[in-house]
Symmetry: C3
Subunit: 341 residues, 3 copies
Amino acid sequence: MTLPAKYYTDPEIFRSEMERFYFGRWIYAGRTERIAQPGDYFLCDVAGESVIVTREGAFYNVCRHRGTRMCTVPEGTFEGRIRCPYHGWTYGLDGSLISAPNMGEEGFSRFDYPLHRVACEIWDGHVFLNFAAERQPLDVPDKFSAWNMGELKSHRRIVYDVKANWKLIILNYNECLHCPVLHPLLNRLTDYLGADNQTPTPNFVGGSMGFRDGAETMSIDGVRRREYLPGLNAEQRKMVCYYAIYPNLLLSLHPDYMMTHTLWPKAVDRTEVVCEWHFHPREMAQPGFQADDAIDFWDQTNQEDWAVSELSQLGISSRAYTPGPYSKREALLHAFDRIVE
Amino acid sequence: MTLPAKYYTDPEIFRSEMERFYFGRWIYAGRTERIAQPGDYFLCDVAGESVIVTREGAFYNVCRHRGTRMCTVPEGTFEGRIRCPYHGWTYGLDGSLISAPNMGEEGFSRFDYPLHRVACEIWDGHVFLNFAAERQPLDVPDKFSAWNMGELKSHRRIVYDVKANWKLIILNYNECLHCPVLHPLLNRLTDYLGADNQTPTPNFVGGSMGFRDGAETMSIDGVRRREYLPGLNAEQRKMVCYYAIYPNLLLSLHPDYMMTHTLWPKAVDRTEVVCEWHFHPREMAQPGFQADDAIDFWDQTNQEDWAVSELSQLGISSRAYTPGPYSKREALLHAFDRIVE
Amino acid sequence: MTLPAKYYTDPEIFRSEMERFYFGRWIYAGRTERIAQPGDYFLCDVAGESVIVTREGAFYNVCRHRGTRMCTVPEGTFEGRIRCPYHGWTYGLDGSLISAPNMGEEGFSRFDYPLHRVACEIWDGHVFLNFAAERQPLDVPDKFSAWNMGELKSHRRIVYDVKANWKLIILNYNECLHCPVLHPLLNRLTDYLGADNQTPTPNFVGGSMGFRDGAETMSIDGVRRREYLPGLNAEQRKMVCYYAIYPNLLLSLHPDYMMTHTLWPKAVDRTEVVCEWHFHPREMAQPGFQADDAIDFWDQTNQEDWAVSELSQLGISSRAYTPGPYSKREALLHAFDRIVE
């Protein structure tokens, strides 16, 4: 049976889920290509918590003097130091306090005031953060080395504001039973009953789906307009892998590109979803490279999914809602609900 | 004395009033003319709760599978069934579940998952809903058969967003003592001291008012531009009946038309008011039929009433507010306050 | 050390501070020039509480009958009486109820229903209000008689919507340690280490700052384009006095003009700041009088201050924020924090 309504409507449960899943687990923050050069950084906003992500690690964006947020430009390059715009306290890229003007007080030591750190790990081009004091090692699928995800580059990014609880978006991603009704276009390319799912783990679930005859990738017409990603074998070229890495990365590996959805909950009934399409740089360098066939296809599918997720949010908020029955084909959803409960 | 401020400012009291008055009593939902043909429906939104109103009854707009809101178009005609856009569960117009694709589980019976019903009654063209498990019979005035309200058709609808508690709008409707100060135009047509009020009941209050010399209806100049409603006797042709049917229908019966106000509270300090003008279809079919004299008159009066209701909301929210004295001419207000307390 | 985050982020503490500081102390409401003639009034909105300020005193803007807010035009002149727009209850300018139409009830006495008063005091052209039942005498600096503040007239008014707690704006005003980093323009005119601060009191703090060589006032280029205020001696002509009069008046006295900031908190993390520039009427009457040099200078400085106050608000809201160390040059801030705690 589906979960009681409160998991999708109660602001208190939402707050506690943010602590458990977003501030207590590894979360996906962005791609290493954004911090390719020394001094490069990007800001990651996690539920209003601003983090400065650099090659040397990640730091809370908070000056130790009067608590000022120091950095507001979403990404850029530091020239060797981070300086607070209020009174000029200045930090090294390793977070150490280098200078604090006019703080010549007895007993003041700059070594007492380094920036606060956030734990940071990298998995094949994906940067993960962890705010918790005690943490498990990063646990991700170990079967995607052939895709060489670390080499891929983001080509396009679309941000969606979805009026639905973050878990409804994961539930929607975790089953294709809705595909024939909701996604006629997608349903022409893959068989919704043909998913080959891996046994769910506490940190991720997912599986692969093959193509129907004639289709070679997920695109507006099933035609593949780019070379296969280098490294894929014959079998890997014939499937898409859909993995939900909890809580906020939906990883969709296609024969010729990678799609990522990142989930940033804004309220119990609202989630920002960042969708990005990543390609091999060799393809992107081709004259005439284009990816609209893949982008338009998933943009339309995304919009169908967000619309029905919003309808789920509205219906579950009804006083008439009671948990309904899952079928066996919705087993991944039940596995996720078990983690949430 | 007037009620303490909390009845108009406390969100908790507002929530409990919504339960008592809107989810615990019969509420007015709309007119039967909107469901004239088989399959016709309209959606009624009661404090975020969406109800599908059909000729066969009213249903919560919530699929029994995953809780999806199924229907979003405000009104239309079903072709014999209601289908959820997510996974295709399909219901008959009587709410029974007809098919549930891919739910071939052992132990699953479609008879366990009909749509949840909302009680529905019709009074002379007015559709009423009741969400409560235990309900009193619908209790409405029994003196309006001569007006044949069921025959009348809506000609015009204006929606107002009023920044005032719903009860302030009822209190404003229930007395005309403010008419000489606030409504100079209206005051030329009727004598504010001439109301003939019925003894208040727990479910409605109201009375009739005659016209001043020369006026024949409530219109911009007191001139009546339409035939009397068929069925009215000489006495009924010379008065307007103003009835507040709690909690959300203000019914104003004129010699030549019917006006309804429907109150939809949005917050403790905000109410959507839908005003509709209904006429006899024979008049509406006349070449050159127009009703601007009645619509403009009441639109202006409405706006004066909403403005002063908003000022009441603001003043009652003051820390200086203390209950003030009602005069004897405000007896209907005191009667309503007694129900609220 | 700076205060814990809750003083800047907790809505409950904000509400209690509003009671203590805004409804429990004398607050600055406006200038006497707005009520220069008999019958003149202006409305003062204190956290949603509307007050009618007149020459005869200040009154809650609430009719004693049904609690209606009576007056909505921000300023104007009453013709001898205040009349409620709902049922016509009419009050004298002293707040007494003069007439109450249709209230001929036995036992009703108009003497029982005067308008509720708010205490009102005037200090050299500044109007102060006090909502508290028990109040201390108004306590303001006694050293500014030479400036003849009561004679000055407002020339320009700019309203800022600052997304920061009201106290952060006071803390920002109370120190110039940030000036070299944040205000390069201002820093060319005054020496940030040259403040001569008075011993802080529970009701106000402040001090004076001299000019750097060549500057004569705070203006875009340090040039003074207006006569010195009459009454200033040689010493007073060479300094700016910056006083924070708690909770909501920041008073900045220049050799040739007065600037006031008034703080109106809207939420724990939002404050409306009204900045006004006041000049001597003799100067304002000069042909070719202009004050853009002073207005543009402070408008730019204001915007720098609000931007960094908003960054403080954001950073202090971080889960990583911990109180940081004040230097000796931030002593006035520590004194204010002691009052707040």
